[in-house]
Protein backbone atom coordinates (compact mmCIF):
# COMPACT_ATOMS: atom_id res chain seq x y z
CA UNK A 1 0.00 0.00 0.00
CA UNK A 2 2.84 2.39 0.93
CA UNK A 3 6.44 1.95 -0.15
CA UNK A 4 9.42 4.28 0.21
CA UNK A 5 12.74 3.45 -1.41
CA UNK A 6 15.91 5.36 -0.53
CA UNK A 7 14.01 8.60 0.03
CA UNK A 8 15.97 11.77 0.71
CA UNK A 9 14.59 15.16 1.68
CA UNK A 10 16.66 18.22 2.58
CA UNK A 11 15.59 21.71 3.67
CA UNK A 12 18.08 24.44 2.72
CA UNK A 13 20.79 21.83 2.60
CA UNK A 14 19.99 20.37 6.02
CA UNK A 15 18.91 16.72 5.87
CA UNK A 16 15.39 16.00 7.13
CA UNK A 17 15.25 12.47 5.74
CA UNK A 18 18.17 10.42 4.47
CA UNK A 19 18.03 7.07 2.68
CA UNK A 20 14.62 6.17 4.11
CA UNK A 21 13.15 2.86 2.93
CA UNK A 22 10.20 0.88 4.31
CA UNK A 23 6.81 -0.41 3.29
CA UNK A 24 3.39 -0.76 4.83
CA UNK A 25 0.97 -3.37 3.57
CA UNK A 26 -2.71 -2.73 2.88
CA UNK A 27 -4.79 -2.85 6.04
CA UNK A 28 -1.74 -2.70 8.27
CA UNK A 29 -1.20 -0.49 11.32
CA UNK A 30 2.18 1.25 11.28
CA UNK A 31 3.91 3.57 13.73
CA UNK A 32 6.53 6.10 12.69
CA UNK A 33 8.40 6.73 15.92
CA UNK A 34 11.32 8.83 17.02
CA UNK A 35 12.14 11.90 19.06
CA UNK A 36 11.18 15.43 18.06
CA UNK A 37 13.03 16.50 14.92
CA UNK A 38 13.58 12.92 13.79
CA UNK A 39 11.70 13.56 10.55
CA UNK A 40 8.31 11.97 11.37
CA UNK A 41 6.23 14.93 10.21
CA UNK A 42 8.35 15.33 7.06
CA UNK A 43 7.77 11.68 6.31
CA UNK A 44 4.02 12.09 6.69
CA UNK A 45 4.10 15.22 4.52
CA UNK A 46 5.66 13.11 1.77
CA UNK A 47 2.84 10.61 2.18
CA UNK A 48 0.05 13.17 1.88
CA UNK A 49 1.95 14.87 -0.92
CA UNK A 50 2.51 18.23 0.73
CA UNK A 51 6.20 17.71 -0.06
CA UNK A 52 8.13 16.00 -2.80
CA UNK A 53 11.16 13.83 -2.11
CA UNK A 54 14.47 15.18 -3.41
CA UNK A 55 15.52 11.67 -4.29
CA UNK A 56 14.19 8.12 -4.10
CA UNK A 57 10.66 6.92 -4.76
CA UNK A 58 7.40 7.06 -2.84
CA UNK A 59 4.64 4.72 -3.95
CA UNK A 60 1.09 4.85 -2.68
CA UNK A 61 -1.43 2.19 -3.67
CA UNK A 62 0.97 0.96 -6.33
CA UNK A 63 1.42 4.40 -7.85
CA UNK A 64 4.77 6.16 -7.83
CA UNK A 65 3.91 9.68 -6.67
CA UNK A 66 7.29 11.41 -6.59
CA UNK A 67 6.87 12.89 -10.02
CA UNK A 68 3.12 13.06 -10.09
CA UNK A 69 1.69 16.08 -11.91
CA UNK A 70 0.29 18.79 -9.62
CA UNK A 71 -3.12 18.43 -11.25
CA UNK A 72 -3.26 14.78 -10.16
CA UNK A 73 -2.48 15.44 -6.48
CA UNK A 74 -6.06 16.21 -5.36
CA UNK A 75 -7.35 12.89 -6.66
CA UNK A 76 -4.64 10.96 -4.82
CA UNK A 77 -5.18 12.97 -1.63
CA UNK A 78 -8.80 11.90 -1.62
CA UNK A 79 -7.59 8.39 -0.86
CA UNK A 80 -5.46 9.57 2.05
CA UNK A 81 -7.20 10.86 5.18
CA UNK A 82 -4.98 12.93 7.44
CA UNK A 83 -5.27 13.87 11.11
CA UNK A 84 -2.87 16.81 11.42
CA UNK A 85 -0.94 17.58 14.56
CA UNK A 86 -2.52 21.05 14.65
CA UNK A 87 -5.86 19.63 13.43
CA UNK A 88 -6.12 22.10 10.53
CA UNK A 89 -9.81 22.69 11.09
CA UNK A 90 -11.84 25.61 9.79
CA UNK A 91 -12.11 27.12 13.23
CA UNK A 92 -14.89 29.56 12.53
CA UNK A 93 -17.11 26.87 11.07
CA UNK A 94 -19.06 24.14 12.82
CA UNK A 95 -17.84 20.59 13.40
CA UNK A 96 -20.40 19.40 10.86
CA UNK A 97 -19.22 21.92 8.25
CA UNK A 98 -15.67 20.66 8.67
CA UNK A 99 -16.65 17.04 8.22
CA UNK A 100 -18.77 17.93 5.20
CA UNK A 101 -15.78 19.39 3.31
CA UNK A 102 -14.22 16.18 1.87
CA UNK A 103 -17.65 14.98 0.73
CA UNK A 104 -18.48 18.32 -0.90
CA UNK A 105 -15.16 18.18 -2.71
CA UNK A 106 -16.15 14.77 -4.03
CA UNK A 107 -19.31 16.38 -5.40
CA UNK A 108 -21.72 14.08 -3.57
CA UNK A 109 -25.41 15.03 -3.40
CA UNK A 110 -26.27 17.35 -0.52
CA UNK A 111 -28.48 14.80 1.26
CA UNK A 112 -25.74 12.20 1.17
CA UNK A 113 -23.16 14.69 2.38
CA UNK A 114 -25.33 15.63 5.34
CA UNK A 115 -26.10 12.03 6.29
CA UNK A 116 -22.52 10.77 6.02
CA UNK A 117 -21.06 13.77 7.85
CA UNK A 118 -23.49 13.35 10.75
CA UNK A 119 -22.77 9.62 10.89
CA UNK A 120 -19.00 10.28 10.97
CA UNK A 121 -19.46 12.74 13.84
CA UNK A 122 -21.64 10.25 15.68
CA UNK A 123 -18.94 7.58 15.33
CA UNK A 124 -16.44 9.84 17.11
CA UNK A 125 -19.01 10.68 19.79
CA UNK A 126 -19.74 14.22 18.69
CA UNK A 127 -23.28 13.93 17.35
CA UNK A 128 -24.52 16.47 19.87
CA UNK A 129 -21.71 18.95 19.07
CA UNK A 130 -22.27 19.03 15.30
CA UNK A 131 -23.41 22.64 15.20
CA UNK A 132 -20.71 24.03 17.49
CA UNK A 133 -17.92 26.12 15.96
CA UNK A 134 -14.60 24.31 16.14
CA UNK A 135 -12.99 27.24 17.93
CA UNK A 136 -15.31 26.53 20.86
CA UNK A 137 -14.53 22.81 21.06
CA UNK A 138 -11.97 21.34 23.44
CA UNK A 139 -8.66 19.95 22.13
CA UNK A 140 -9.94 16.39 22.38
CA UNK A 141 -13.15 17.29 20.57
CA UNK A 142 -11.22 19.05 17.82
CA UNK A 143 -9.03 15.98 17.45
CA UNK A 144 -12.15 13.84 17.04
CA UNK A 145 -13.59 16.26 14.47
CA UNK A 146 -10.29 16.01 12.56
CA UNK A 147 -10.52 12.22 12.73
CA UNK A 148 -14.14 12.25 11.54
CA UNK A 149 -13.14 14.49 8.63
CA UNK A 150 -10.21 12.23 7.76
CA UNK A 151 -12.41 9.14 7.69
CA UNK A 152 -15.69 10.46 6.29
CA UNK A 153 -14.70 9.93 2.64
CA UNK A 154 -13.61 6.34 3.46
CA UNK A 155 -9.98 6.69 2.40
CA UNK A 156 -7.79 3.64 1.89
CA UNK A 157 -5.06 5.20 4.05
CA UNK A 158 -5.29 7.17 7.29
CA UNK A 159 -2.29 9.20 8.45
CA UNK A 160 -2.20 10.63 11.98
CA UNK A 161 0.50 13.01 13.18
CA UNK A 162 0.92 12.87 16.97
CA UNK A 163 -2.79 12.12 17.42
CA UNK A 164 -2.60 12.10 21.21
CA UNK A 165 -0.39 15.15 21.66
CA UNK A 166 -1.64 17.48 24.40
CA UNK A 167 -4.60 15.24 25.23
CA UNK A 168 -5.37 13.78 28.62
CA UNK A 169 -4.99 10.02 29.04
CA UNK A 170 -8.68 9.23 28.77
CA UNK A 171 -9.24 11.37 25.68
CA UNK A 172 -6.06 9.98 24.09
CA UNK A 173 -7.30 6.43 24.65
CA UNK A 174 -10.59 7.36 22.98
CA UNK A 175 -8.69 8.60 19.91
CA UNK A 176 -6.57 5.43 19.78
CA UNK A 177 -9.71 3.31 20.00
CA UNK A 178 -11.12 5.19 16.99
CA UNK A 179 -7.90 4.62 15.05
CA UNK A 180 -8.07 0.93 15.95
CA UNK A 181 -11.67 0.77 14.76
CA UNK A 182 -10.72 2.35 11.43
CA UNK A 183 -7.84 -0.11 11.07
CA UNK A 184 -10.09 -3.03 11.94
CA UNK A 185 -12.44 -1.88 9.17
CA UNK A 186 -9.59 -2.34 6.66
CA UNK A 187 -8.07 1.13 6.53
CA UNK A 188 -4.27 1.27 6.41
CA UNK A 189 -3.32 3.41 9.42
CA UNK A 190 0.03 5.18 9.81
CA UNK A 191 0.64 7.02 13.08
CA UNK A 192 3.59 9.32 13.69
CA UNK A 193 4.28 9.54 17.41
CA UNK A 194 6.84 9.84 20.15
CA UNK A 195 4.30 9.02 22.86
CA UNK A 196 5.29 5.81 24.72
CA UNK A 197 1.63 5.11 25.44
CA UNK A 198 0.85 5.08 21.73
CA UNK A 199 3.87 2.86 21.03
CA UNK A 200 2.65 0.46 23.71
CA UNK A 201 -0.81 0.54 22.15
CA UNK A 202 0.76 -0.29 18.79
CA UNK A 203 2.70 -3.17 20.33
CA UNK A 204 -0.50 -4.65 21.68
CA UNK A 205 -2.05 -4.48 18.21
CA UNK A 206 0.99 -5.94 16.41
CA UNK A 207 1.80 -2.74 14.59
CA UNK A 208 4.72 -2.33 12.22
CA UNK A 209 7.18 0.23 13.49
CA UNK A 210 9.54 2.51 11.62
CA UNK A 211 12.02 4.06 14.01
CA UNK A 212 13.53 7.34 12.81
CA UNK A 213 16.57 9.02 14.33
CA UNK A 214 17.90 12.22 12.77
CA UNK A 215 16.11 11.48 9.52
CA UNK A 216 17.39 7.94 9.13
CA UNK A 217 15.56 4.68 9.70
CA UNK A 218 17.10 2.86 12.64
CA UNK A 219 14.97 -0.20 12.15
CA UNK A 220 11.66 -1.50 10.89
CA UNK A 221 9.52 -4.41 11.95
CA UNK A 222 7.03 -5.28 14.62
CA UNK A 223 7.03 -2.97 17.63
CA UNK A 224 7.88 -5.78 20.07
CA UNK A 225 10.79 -6.96 17.90
CA UNK A 226 12.26 -3.47 17.70
CA UNK A 227 11.84 -3.01 21.41
CA UNK A 228 13.97 -6.07 21.91
CA UNK A 229 16.59 -4.95 19.41
CA UNK A 230 16.91 -1.44 20.77
CA UNK A 231 16.40 -2.38 24.38
CA UNK A 232 13.79 0.34 24.83
CA UNK A 233 11.29 0.28 27.63
CA UNK A 234 7.76 0.88 26.36
Amino acid sequence: MIELVRVRKHYAGAPALEDVSFHVRAGELALITGPSGAGKTTLLRLLYLAERADDGTVSIAGREVTRLRASSLPYLRRNVGVVFQDFKLLRGRSALDNVRVPLEILGLPRVQVEARARLALARVGLADRAGVACARLSGGEQQRVALARALVARPAILLADEPTGNLDVETAQGILDLLATANAAGTTVVVATHDPAVIAWGARRGARRVQLVRGRVQGTGAVVQLTTINGERE
Binding site: Y48, A50, S71, P74, R78, K88, V101, I105, L106
Partner: protein
Protein backbone atom coordinates in the same frame (compact mmCIF):
# COMPACT_ATOMS: atom_id res chain seq x y z
CA UNK B 1 -12.26 39.83 3.32
CA UNK B 2 -13.30 40.40 6.94
CA UNK B 3 -10.02 42.22 7.50
CA UNK B 4 -11.02 45.00 5.10
CA UNK B 5 -14.76 44.88 4.50
CA UNK B 6 -14.69 48.21 2.64
CA UNK B 7 -12.25 47.05 -0.01
CA UNK B 8 -14.83 45.26 -2.21
CA UNK B 9 -16.98 48.41 -2.00
CA UNK B 10 -13.98 50.46 -3.12
CA UNK B 11 -13.33 48.03 -5.98
CA UNK B 12 -16.96 48.16 -7.13
CA UNK B 13 -16.93 51.97 -6.90
CA UNK B 14 -13.65 52.14 -8.83
CA UNK B 15 -15.01 49.93 -11.61
CA UNK B 16 -18.17 52.06 -11.72
CA UNK B 17 -16.10 55.24 -11.89
CA UNK B 18 -13.97 53.69 -14.61
CA UNK B 19 -17.05 52.90 -16.68
CA UNK B 20 -18.30 56.48 -16.20
CA UNK B 21 -14.94 57.96 -17.25
CA UNK B 22 -14.47 55.74 -20.28
CA UNK B 23 -18.16 56.05 -21.14
CA UNK B 24 -18.07 59.84 -21.00
CA UNK B 25 -15.14 60.01 -23.39
CA UNK B 26 -16.85 57.45 -25.62
CA UNK B 27 -20.11 59.41 -25.65
CA UNK B 28 -18.23 62.62 -26.50
CA UNK B 29 -16.22 60.99 -29.29
CA UNK B 30 -19.27 59.27 -30.71
CA UNK B 31 -21.43 62.40 -30.76
CA UNK B 32 -18.65 64.52 -32.21
CA UNK B 33 -18.30 61.94 -34.93
CA UNK B 34 -22.05 62.06 -35.62
CA UNK B 35 -22.06 65.87 -35.75
CA UNK B 36 -19.17 65.82 -38.19
CA UNK B 37 -20.82 63.18 -40.32
CA UNK B 38 -23.89 65.39 -40.59
CA UNK B 39 -21.76 68.39 -41.40
CA UNK B 40 -19.79 66.45 -43.97
CA UNK B 41 -23.03 65.60 -45.73
CA UNK B 42 -24.29 69.19 -45.49
CA UNK B 43 -23.21 72.57 -46.79
CA UNK B 44 -19.47 72.85 -47.38
CA UNK B 45 -19.38 76.18 -49.18
CA UNK B 46 -21.49 79.33 -48.73
CA UNK B 47 -21.52 82.18 -51.24
CA UNK B 48 -22.70 85.57 -49.89
CA UNK B 49 -23.83 88.25 -52.35
CA UNK B 50 -23.44 92.00 -52.23
CA UNK B 51 -26.62 93.80 -51.12
CA UNK B 52 -27.10 95.35 -54.54
CA UNK B 53 -26.68 92.00 -56.37
CA UNK B 54 -29.88 90.97 -58.15
CA UNK B 55 -31.65 87.63 -57.89
CA UNK B 56 -30.75 87.09 -61.53
CA UNK B 57 -27.07 87.55 -60.70
CA UNK B 58 -27.37 84.94 -57.96
CA UNK B 59 -29.16 82.56 -60.34
CA UNK B 60 -26.30 82.93 -62.85
CA UNK B 61 -23.71 82.11 -60.23
CA UNK B 62 -25.79 79.14 -59.08
CA UNK B 63 -26.03 77.88 -62.66
CA UNK B 64 -22.26 78.22 -63.07
CA UNK B 65 -21.69 76.25 -59.87
CA UNK B 66 -24.04 73.45 -60.92
CA UNK B 67 -21.81 72.85 -63.93
CA UNK B 68 -18.72 72.30 -61.71
CA UNK B 69 -17.94 68.56 -61.45
CA UNK B 70 -18.37 67.18 -57.92
CA UNK B 71 -20.94 69.74 -56.81
CA UNK B 72 -24.09 67.92 -55.71
CA UNK B 73 -26.51 70.62 -54.56
CA UNK B 74 -26.76 74.39 -54.88
CA UNK B 75 -29.52 76.11 -52.92
CA UNK B 76 -30.44 79.78 -52.91
CA UNK B 77 -31.18 81.23 -49.46
CA UNK B 78 -33.07 84.51 -49.47
CA UNK B 79 -32.32 87.26 -46.94
CA UNK B 80 -35.65 86.55 -45.18
CA UNK B 81 -34.88 82.85 -44.95
CA UNK B 82 -31.44 83.60 -43.50
CA UNK B 83 -33.03 85.84 -40.87
CA UNK B 84 -35.56 83.12 -39.99
CA UNK B 85 -32.74 80.64 -39.48
CA UNK B 86 -30.85 83.05 -37.26
CA UNK B 87 -33.92 83.61 -35.10
CA UNK B 88 -34.44 79.86 -34.84
CA UNK B 89 -30.80 79.35 -33.88
CA UNK B 90 -31.00 82.01 -31.17
CA UNK B 91 -34.02 80.26 -29.63
CA UNK B 92 -35.17 82.10 -26.50
CA UNK B 93 -32.80 84.97 -27.36
CA UNK B 94 -34.47 85.64 -30.73
CA UNK B 95 -36.24 88.81 -29.42
CA UNK B 96 -32.79 90.40 -29.67
CA UNK B 97 -33.52 90.67 -33.41
CA UNK B 98 -36.82 92.49 -32.92
CA UNK B 99 -36.83 95.61 -35.06
CA UNK B 100 -34.12 94.29 -37.38
CA UNK B 101 -35.17 94.31 -41.04
CA UNK B 102 -35.83 90.95 -42.69
CA UNK B 103 -33.36 91.82 -45.46
CA UNK B 104 -30.60 92.67 -42.98
CA UNK B 105 -28.68 89.48 -43.84
CA UNK B 106 -27.33 89.03 -47.38
CA UNK B 107 -28.81 86.39 -49.69
CA UNK B 108 -26.55 83.40 -50.23
CA UNK B 109 -25.98 80.13 -52.04
CA UNK B 110 -25.35 76.93 -50.05
CA UNK B 111 -23.22 74.48 -51.97
CA UNK B 112 -22.77 70.76 -51.17
CA UNK B 113 -20.09 68.57 -52.70
CA UNK B 114 -20.36 64.90 -53.52
CA UNK B 115 -18.35 62.49 -51.33
CA UNK B 116 -14.84 62.25 -52.72
CA UNK B 117 -14.90 65.82 -54.02
CA UNK B 118 -15.07 67.54 -50.62
CA UNK B 119 -11.36 67.79 -49.93
CA UNK B 120 -9.89 71.10 -48.81
CA UNK B 121 -8.01 71.72 -52.11
CA UNK B 122 -11.12 71.29 -54.28
CA UNK B 123 -13.21 73.52 -52.02
CA UNK B 124 -10.51 76.19 -51.96
CA UNK B 125 -10.20 76.16 -55.77
CA UNK B 126 -13.96 76.50 -56.28
CA UNK B 127 -14.17 79.21 -53.58
CA UNK B 128 -11.48 81.23 -55.33
CA UNK B 129 -13.21 81.00 -58.71
CA UNK B 130 -16.61 81.91 -57.29
CA UNK B 131 -15.15 84.77 -55.27
CA UNK B 132 -14.12 86.48 -58.48
CA UNK B 133 -17.61 86.34 -59.98
CA UNK B 134 -19.57 89.60 -60.23
CA UNK B 135 -21.96 90.32 -57.34
CA UNK B 136 -20.26 87.90 -54.96
CA UNK B 137 -19.27 89.51 -51.67
CA UNK B 138 -17.70 86.65 -49.71
CA UNK B 139 -17.19 82.87 -49.91
CA UNK B 140 -16.90 80.69 -46.81
CA UNK B 141 -15.80 77.06 -46.79
CA UNK B 142 -16.55 74.69 -43.93
CA UNK B 143 -14.43 71.87 -45.25
CA UNK B 144 -11.26 72.90 -43.45
CA UNK B 145 -13.20 73.18 -40.17
CA UNK B 146 -14.74 69.82 -40.76
CA UNK B 147 -11.30 68.37 -41.29
CA UNK B 148 -9.95 69.97 -38.14
CA UNK B 149 -12.91 68.79 -36.10
CA UNK B 150 -12.59 65.36 -37.66
CA UNK B 151 -9.00 65.30 -36.44
CA UNK B 152 -10.28 66.35 -33.00
CA UNK B 153 -12.81 63.52 -33.13
CA UNK B 154 -10.05 61.05 -34.00
CA UNK B 155 -8.06 62.41 -31.08
CA UNK B 156 -11.08 62.01 -28.80
CA UNK B 157 -11.50 58.43 -29.99
CA UNK B 158 -7.83 57.73 -29.33
CA UNK B 159 -8.24 59.35 -25.90
CA UNK B 160 -11.18 57.01 -25.27
CA UNK B 161 -8.97 54.01 -25.99
CA UNK B 162 -6.15 55.35 -23.80
CA UNK B 163 -8.65 56.04 -21.01
CA UNK B 164 -10.03 52.55 -21.51
CA UNK B 165 -6.55 51.04 -21.17
CA UNK B 166 -5.57 53.11 -18.13
CA UNK B 167 -8.85 52.77 -16.28
CA UNK B 168 -9.06 49.09 -17.24
CA UNK B 169 -5.60 48.48 -15.82
CA UNK B 170 -6.50 50.36 -12.63
CA UNK B 171 -9.72 48.37 -12.26
CA UNK B 172 -7.85 45.13 -12.91
CA UNK B 173 -5.35 46.01 -10.21
CA UNK B 174 -8.11 46.91 -7.75
CA UNK B 175 -9.97 43.68 -8.41
CA UNK B 176 -6.67 41.84 -8.03
CA UNK B 177 -5.88 43.64 -4.75
CA UNK B 178 -9.35 43.03 -3.35
CA UNK B 179 -9.38 39.35 -4.12
CA UNK B 180 -5.77 38.97 -3.04
CA UNK B 181 -6.72 40.30 0.37
CA UNK B 182 -9.67 37.93 0.49
CA UNK B 183 -7.40 35.08 -0.54
CA UNK B 184 -4.84 36.08 2.08
CA UNK B 185 -7.52 36.15 4.78
CA UNK B 186 -8.60 32.67 3.73
CA UNK B 187 -5.17 31.19 2.98
CA UNK B 188 -5.47 28.66 5.81
CA UNK B 189 -8.83 27.55 4.52
CA UNK B 190 -7.37 27.20 1.04
CA UNK B 191 -4.51 25.11 2.40
CA UNK B 192 -6.93 22.86 4.27
CA UNK B 193 -9.16 22.43 1.23
CA UNK B 194 -6.15 21.50 -0.89
CA UNK B 195 -4.89 19.01 1.71
CA UNK B 196 -8.20 17.19 1.83
CA UNK B 197 -8.32 16.81 -1.95
CA UNK B 198 -9.78 19.99 -3.44
CA UNK B 199 -8.76 20.76 -7.00
CA UNK B 200 -7.48 24.20 -7.98
CA UNK B 201 -10.75 24.85 -9.75
CA UNK B 202 -12.75 24.01 -6.62
CA UNK B 203 -10.67 26.47 -4.58
CA UNK B 204 -10.74 29.16 -7.25
CA UNK B 205 -14.45 29.05 -8.01
CA UNK B 206 -15.66 31.24 -5.09
CA UNK B 207 -12.98 33.85 -5.82
CA UNK B 208 -13.81 33.79 -9.53
CA UNK B 209 -17.45 34.39 -8.65
CA UNK B 210 -16.50 37.19 -6.25
CA UNK B 211 -14.35 38.92 -8.86
CA UNK B 212 -16.99 38.46 -11.55
CA UNK B 213 -19.72 39.88 -9.31
CA UNK B 214 -17.57 42.86 -8.31
CA UNK B 215 -16.90 43.62 -11.96
CA UNK B 216 -20.51 43.06 -12.95
CA UNK B 217 -21.86 45.20 -10.13
CA UNK B 218 -19.31 47.96 -10.77
CA UNK B 219 -20.00 47.82 -14.51
CA UNK B 220 -23.77 47.92 -13.98
CA UNK B 221 -23.57 50.81 -11.53
CA UNK B 222 -21.20 52.65 -13.85
CA UNK B 223 -23.52 52.19 -16.85
CA UNK B 224 -26.49 53.40 -14.81
CA UNK B 225 -24.53 56.42 -13.54
CA UNK B 226 -23.38 57.21 -17.07
CA UNK B 227 -26.97 57.10 -18.33
CA UNK B 228 -28.25 59.35 -15.53
CA UNK B 229 -25.36 61.73 -16.10
CA UNK B 230 -26.13 61.79 -19.82
CA UNK B 231 -29.83 62.43 -19.20
CA UNK B 232 -28.97 65.34 -16.92
CA UNK B 233 -26.24 66.88 -19.08
CA UNK B 234 -27.40 66.24 -22.66
CA UNK B 235 -30.17 68.87 -22.81
CA UNK B 236 -27.81 71.54 -21.45
CA UNK B 237 -25.04 70.62 -23.88
CA UNK B 238 -27.53 70.50 -26.77
CA UNK B 239 -28.84 73.99 -25.82
CA UNK B 240 -25.33 75.33 -25.48
CA UNK B 241 -24.02 73.91 -28.76
CA UNK B 242 -27.28 74.32 -30.63
CA UNK B 243 -26.77 78.10 -30.79
CA UNK B 244 -23.32 77.63 -32.26
CA UNK B 245 -23.73 74.65 -34.54
CA UNK B 246 -27.43 74.68 -35.32
CA UNK B 247 -29.84 72.03 -34.04
CA UNK B 248 -27.96 68.99 -32.71
CA UNK B 249 -29.19 65.96 -30.88
CA UNK B 250 -26.79 64.05 -28.63
CA UNK B 251 -27.18 60.29 -28.61
CA UNK B 252 -26.46 57.71 -25.88
CA UNK B 253 -24.44 54.68 -27.01
CA UNK B 254 -26.55 51.70 -28.09
CA UNK B 255 -27.36 48.91 -25.65
CA UNK B 256 -24.80 46.61 -27.25
CA UNK B 257 -21.99 49.07 -26.41
CA UNK B 258 -23.18 49.36 -22.81
CA UNK B 259 -23.52 45.59 -22.50
CA UNK B 260 -20.00 45.19 -23.90
CA UNK B 261 -18.66 47.69 -21.33
CA UNK B 262 -20.34 45.84 -18.45
CA UNK B 263 -19.07 42.52 -19.81
CA UNK B 264 -15.51 43.88 -20.00
CA UNK B 265 -15.85 45.11 -16.40
CA UNK B 266 -17.04 41.67 -15.29
CA UNK B 267 -14.20 39.95 -17.15
CA UNK B 268 -11.73 42.38 -15.58
CA UNK B 269 -12.97 41.33 -12.14
CA UNK B 270 -12.71 37.68 -13.12
CA UNK B 271 -9.17 38.09 -14.44
CA UNK B 272 -8.10 40.00 -11.31
CA UNK B 273 -9.47 37.20 -9.14
CA UNK B 274 -7.78 34.54 -11.24
CA UNK B 275 -4.39 36.24 -10.92
CA UNK B 276 -4.82 36.92 -7.20
CA UNK B 277 -5.66 33.36 -6.19
CA UNK B 278 -3.03 31.66 -8.34
CA UNK B 279 -0.09 32.21 -6.02
CA UNK B 280 -1.82 30.61 -3.02
CA UNK B 281 -2.64 27.34 -4.72
CA UNK B 282 0.75 25.70 -4.41
CA UNK B 283 0.01 23.38 -1.48
Amino acid sequence: MRAAPLLPVVAVAAVALGIVLVGTVHVAARNLHDVLANWGQGVQLTVYFQPEASVGRAAAVAEALRRVPGIEHVRYITAAEAMERLKSGLGPSSPLLDGVDDDFLPPSLEVSFARGHDDVATLAAVAERVGRMPGVDQVETSGDWVKRLAAAADLARAAAWVAFALVGTACLYLAFATIRLAVFARREEIEILKLVGATDRYVRAPFWIEGLLEGLLGGGLGALSLYLLFRAAAPRVEALLGGLLGGIHLGFPPGAHIAAGVAVAALTGLLGAHLAVRRHLHV
